[in-house]
Each structure stands twice: as C-alpha cells, then as structure tokens.
Symmetry: C2
Subunit: 234 residues, 2 copies
C-alpha cells in the first residue's frame, strides 16, 4: 500500500511538509509557542513539534484540534485530488453543458485566480436564448447569481425561474441543469468549488496568487477554444 502522503506530495527541499510549514507559520503569526499550542490542544510539545517538522502525520481528530487552536481551516490542507483520468475531464466539461453546444454560442469568462490551495472558481456565463445545459451532478457546491436576463434552473427535477439579483446556492451533488427560456441572453455570475478550468495543481507562481479582472479587458472568446484543447489532450 503506497498512497501518496501529505508529506510526500508536497515535500519541500528541506524535507518539511507544506502542512507542517503552514502550521508553524501560523503559530508564529499568532505569537504562540509550541507549549501554548500543546496546552490548548491537549497534546504534548514534542508531538506538535513533530507535526510541524513533518515527522508525524496527525490523525484527523488531532488535526482538527490543532487547527481549532490555530484558527485554521483543516480542510485547506487538502488540495482537490489531481485527476489524471480523461473520462473525468470530459465529465468536467459536461458539467458546463458543452455537450449541449450546437449552433448556440455559450460563452464563459473566467474570473477567478489560481493559487496554491485555492478552491473557488468563478465565471461569467453568457447563456444564449434557448440554451439548455445537460443535467449534471458532481462534488462541491455552487452559487448562481443572475446579473441580467432570466434563467430557469432545474434542481432534482424541480424548476425555478430566477430573475436579476436572484441567487441559487446548492450542493453540486444535486442533479442540476439550466435553461435560458427567454429570447435574450442571460448573464450569470457563477461560483463553485470544483476544478472546472483544469488548473490541477497550481504552480505556486506568485503572479497568479491575486487576480484583479477588469470588465473592459475581459476576453470574449468562446469557451470552445478550451474544449478543443481538451480534445487534443485526450
């Protein structure tokens, strides 16, 4: 049994895991000693030291306790799994209705940045009149915010019409689909917690750690260019 370990997947040059490094940095930011953290979390000083140095991997419950003391989100130590399977990449494309793309031009504008550990993905979706996405279900959660136009959203078979300013927030495991039932385009601000752009593991390039996007500079190229690229990869 040789699954990748947290230490292994992120081992830095000096043998310390990013989890340990992050925990130590956080502790120091808070001006706490190992003893402080140990006392507050109920563990020994030596154990905390070992975790920070990547010598010991804490159990789930131990990690939760330490993160509570350090006011950290334990989940942030888990980057979404890097998925190497072509079939799943195709599924990811389906998640945004590309299989329903005929002569309708569904376009996307990516808004969100990519940096180590980030999980948010935001897009501006221009959904053309009559466009229907395929029903889909996947892990994560998402929020739709209607900027312009109307949208019919179907969740577990139940249809609801959303108007400008309306939102829908739901676990993505719910079977969902959208339909622009009108004769005008719909503009949607969409945020989800899923790797829909195929970023995989971000490079950690500091230049991508912060993105400020300008409405005026936004590309208007259709998403299909991404689809073609995906096809080449397969």
């Amino acid at each position: 049994m040789t699954p990748k370990t947290l230490a292994e997947t992120g081992e830095s040059d000096d043998g310390l895991s990013p989890m340990g490094i992050r925990l130590r940095n956080r502790r120091k930011d808070l001006k706490l000693t190992l003893q402080d953290v140990a006392d507050a979390s109920g563990f020994s000083v030596g154990f905390i030291s070992q975790i920070e140095r990547g010598i010991t991997v804490p159990s789930l419950t131990s990690l939760i306790s330490v993160c509570r003391v350090l006011k950290m989100d334990a989940g942030s130590f888990f980057t979404p799994p890097k998925n190497d399977q072509p079939i799943t990449r195709k599924q990811s494309r389906q998640a945004f209705g590309l299989t329903g793309l005929a002569d309708n031009k569904l376009t996307y504008e990516r808004l969100s940045a990519s940096f180590p550990g980030n999980i948010l993905r935001s897009t501006l979706i221009h959904e053309p009149p009559g466009f229907r996405s395929e029903p889909m279900s996947h892990e994560g959660e998402e929020i739709y915010f209607i900027l312009e136009g109307e949208l019919t959203i179907e969740l577990d078979g139940a249809r609801t019409i959303l108007n400008p300013g309306d939102t829908a927030h739901f676990p993505s495991t719910v079977v969902h689909a959208t339909w622009n039932h009108t004769t005008e385009p719909t503009l949607i601000f969409h945020t989800c917690t899923m790797d829909v752009f195929g970023d995989g593991e971000p490079s950690g390039d500091p230049n991508t750690s912060l993105v400020i996007t300008r409405a005026a500079d936004r590309r208007k190229a259709p998403k299909p260019s991404k689809s073609k690229k995906g096809t080449d990869n397969e």
Copy 2:
C-alpha cells in the same frame, strides 16, 4: 485528551458519521462496490466498510486515497472549527469591518445557504460612501465582484480601484481592506470560504440545503443586529 471527533461532532441518530455517510452515498452514486473502492485505493473491503459505518477514522493519507478513488474533495469533510472563544468572534466581526462602523450604515444581505459540509458564503455588500473597512487577514479565500459603484481595495498595502464588472480574487491570508472612496454607495457581490455568519455546524435540515434568494424578497436589515447579539454573548 478529549477533542471532538469527526464522528462525535456529526453523529446522526443511528450512530453513523456524516463523513461515512457521504462516502457511502458517493460510492453508490458511482455504482461501485466496497470491493471496487478497496481495490482501487489499496485497502481492504472491511476497512472501507468500517470507515463508511463510522467505526474507524482513517488516517489523513488513507482519507486522501479513498477520496481520490471517489473523486471527492477530502477537505470538504472539515467544517471550519466551531470556535467558542468570544475574542475570536469579535475578530470575525472585524473581518467584515464592523469595528469601523460609526454613523455609516454598512449593510449586508446574505445570499448563501447553509447545509452540511458547505463552505461558500455569499453576501451582497452595500458599502456606503467613504466607508473604510479595517485591514484584516484570516484563513480562506474570497472573491469580490463589483456590481455598482467603485471600490478601492487594498491588498498587502497595494491599492487598486475596481469598477463595475471587475473582480478581485485572493487568499484571505493576504492583509486586505476596502474603501468606498466615492460619494455613492458601492454594491458588491462577495463570496468567501469562511464562516462569517456564525452558522457553525449546520443542522442538516433539508430545508436549508438549497436556497434560492429573490432580489425582491431580500431583507434590508443592517448587519449590526448581528453585532449586538455577539455582544450579548460576551
């Protein structure tokens, strides 16, 4: 040493942990047997069964392996820690600039739902002219999307003016602050991965698993009502 366990914090009536339940549901969604998952992850059938039934808590590395097979985000099993310390609640309020509240009326409209495992929090922020938030830094990440007006956002000391349609997406660990430098209100759609509403552990009520919010129905009450409640708790 009695930290709360994953099973303990979310134990359902029949003794099963939500983590196990979610894993099982996901496995069944994928039409996989315990044996399939065991084979693919490199563990035994019995172990996977025990995890699903909440009898055994997997190690971090084991959880990662199982989640990889099930194409799940291991981080989603960690809800942000429920923090019982008043000082931290105050800090949470600071995170949204309440300590800067004088005679300016900064208002929030919550958009996001609350359901087990959810991590997204969305609000519509009406930032009044001249309002400045306190510089803040915390775990998580966030996205600002300007709907109306302009906003100066300061990240690590660097100021940038955002116009309608612009976005900023950054790790919340970056010291950040906002300033409505104009003479008109600014309307911001804000999404982050932090428990800013004090939801704590969601009740799991199915009625809160999906929220469709209507622009017309949205409450206009200022957030300060939440602030007062926090004060009473202290």
